[in-house]
Symmetry: C2
Subunit: 364 residues, 2 copies
């Protein structure tokens, strides 16, 4: 008799009553819970005939393992928390797709939270995920230095991967791209085509609108791209007047104003590097308003491939980043860290400059 004294008996297959538990399967198969678990879980030793009885019983009762109980007992949830700025943004959506799929391949589940790059929401998100007892964390940090919540999350702090952005002095894995090189390549292409007046439209969510100076809280990606662009300009002996660089948040009307601000200078740049899809759209919107034509009046290069960049006329040249690979690498690194107990790694993926039609030749 022992402990199995639940009065309920003979649960109907799928319909009615609460879902079947392991003990229901065990009883129907006339074995113990341990044996049923072994048969279903495929571990330990179970007689062939017994195993069949158990699986038959499980099917008959429409048995579903209770993952909550399993997680509780095993101390692993097989879940990974993902903290990003905004999943409806195309970059994060693509990364999330990779993360979700790769998680699934490894038997993990992804729990995704948006922060809108607000550090308070990020802190809150990490807290929630810690309470959910996720086995690991992938974070796109919204601040380059505010990171107590990341250092201070006990176990999780050593099962953490920073995606897209680095944080100084954190012993966490990072998956980034060569943003500095990407920006350099873009500027060099402009220069090779004879452009000497080159503007920069930089996405920084920290800013409330747009400004000409680098916000204090600018994230590593922003700093790197800026540094890469400046280095390339300097090497060519070119100037970067303040009026030609604008930091803007990811909001079309604001980006458009920022782009107009750059393009309204006299003389205006003949080329603009945009640090993401939204910035590129802002340049296009500004050109529309100003009666300028991309690929003829204004050369444009954008970071990140967009669904439309290949299709426009002229097609837009881009600094491609391997976004899907980034998400995938974040998960594989994290899983290795969780399972293998290996230390943090820094992964930097290359960018590829894809030259299409938006960078016209000024010398021709």
């Amino acid at each position: 008799m022992a402990s199995d004294t639940t009065a309920s008996d003979e649960r109907g297959g799928e319909e009615g009553g609460r879902p079947a538990r392991l003990i229901d399967v065990a009883r129907l198969a006339k074995v113990s819970r341990a044996t049923a678990a072994r048969a279903l879980g495929g571990y330990g030793f179970v007689g062939d005939e017994t195993r069949e009885r158990v699986t038959a019983a499980a099917r008959k009762l429409n048995y579903r393992l209770n993952e909550v109980a399993r997680a509780m007992r095993a101390g692993k949830t097989l879940a990974i928390g993902v903290v990003i700025a905004d999943i409806s943004n195309s970059f994060f959506a693509a990364a999330a797709r990779a993360i979700i799929d790769t998680c699934a391949e490894h038997g993990y589940q992804a729990l995704i939270l948006n922060t809108d790059d607000d550090i308070r929401r990020e802190v809150e998100a990490v807290r929630v995920l810690a309470e959910k007892r996720v086995d690991g964390l992938i974070v796109v940090p919204s601040s380059p230095d505010h990171n107590v919540h990341l250092r201070n999350s006990g176990e999780l702090s050593s099962r953490l991967v920073l995606l897209d952005r680095r944080i100084a002095d954190m012993a966490a894995s990072t998956v980034t791209t060569d943003d500095r090189g990407g920006a350099r390549d873009a500027i060099e292409l402009f220069i090779a085509r004879g452009h000497t007046r080159i503007g920069l439209l930089v996405s920084t969510v920290a800013t409330s609108s747009h400004s000409a100076t680098l916000p204090h809280q600018a994230v590593s990606t922003v700093r790197d791209r800026l540094a890469g662009a400046k280095a390339a300009l300097r090497q060519a002996g070119l100037d970067l007047p303040n009026a030609w660089v604008r930091f803007s948040r990811n909001d079309l009307p604001i980006v458009t104003q920022a782009a107009i601000a750059i393009l309204a200078t006299e003389p205006r740049p003949t080329a603009i590097l945009a640090t993401c899809e939204e910035m590129a759209l802002g340049v296009m919107a500004a050109c529309r308003e100003l009666g300028l034509t991309i690929g003829r009046d204004i050369a444009l290069i954008s970071f990140d491939e967009s669904p439309w960049s290949r299709v426009l006329n002229p097609a837009i040249s881009v600094v491609q980043r391997p976004i899907y690979e980034m998400g995938r690498a974040a998960v594989t690194t994290l899983v290795r860290q969780i399972q293998g107990g290996v230390g943090p790694q820094a992964i930097e993926l290359p960018t590829v400059l894809v030259d299409r039609e938006s960078v016209f030749d000024l010398k021709g």
Copy 2:
């Protein structure tokens, strides 16, 4: 003495050792687990002084509620499963954003899985989420009739919201848009501008490439839009030759081929209705290849607002759907169903035709 016999004592604050449990807090505050739980959970009656001692102890130990244990005991995970085709697709990304945020507002977590509109992956996703014991399910069903896995999920079957697509004879809530009306409006605008040769480019993931006939497994959204368009054409006494309608999967090269197939007919349509962003991009790509100009040679209307539709030259007219509202409504309906035990509802949100510049006047 009783059961609290764990030998470990005095856990260091945040660092070192396993995370603090309720019992550690209780001991430090010199109360029982029950009292500590009441104080922290904010329910039941607790003396003011006691409450303060407990919260102080919790803070000191950096205590985090173990959600897994809570879920196990309470029989609620406060998690909602979301089964969609592809989160990197802009429509689903926007819906997911709304779902995640609205879930968070209600204290729930969203678990998102991609199916690529593959019914087998959908079945698998539902199984996984059932094992995770999610409290409810939001599904974008990939098939209009294959639904055993949805009917057959015990408790979950009555805590299910179908998003974007309906399934015949399912007693589940649905959140959809007036796709028939949206398509009708679009066609009527074409007609009002003098277009009589109107083509249809319809997204159907079931198809392996593109074809002229409606696939058997076409989802309600597809059928409704097709029906709406046909009704409007019929009412105007217009014909819809097979050669002017194409069903295509969401893959730019294939969509482009499909659009080219339509535009290569003689005489070719002067207007095309595209049923999503990807279809519209395919039309643009085809026009590019064929040397045709949107807004002059070809009028275009697309379902769903895109980041670029406002910015292009000409700006693209669209049938707007309230995507964020759809996601939000799915969650609020589901939560009401979970908490209030109310029955399933059918919510249909309106579409809005936004007339921009891509539909030129043929009569002028």
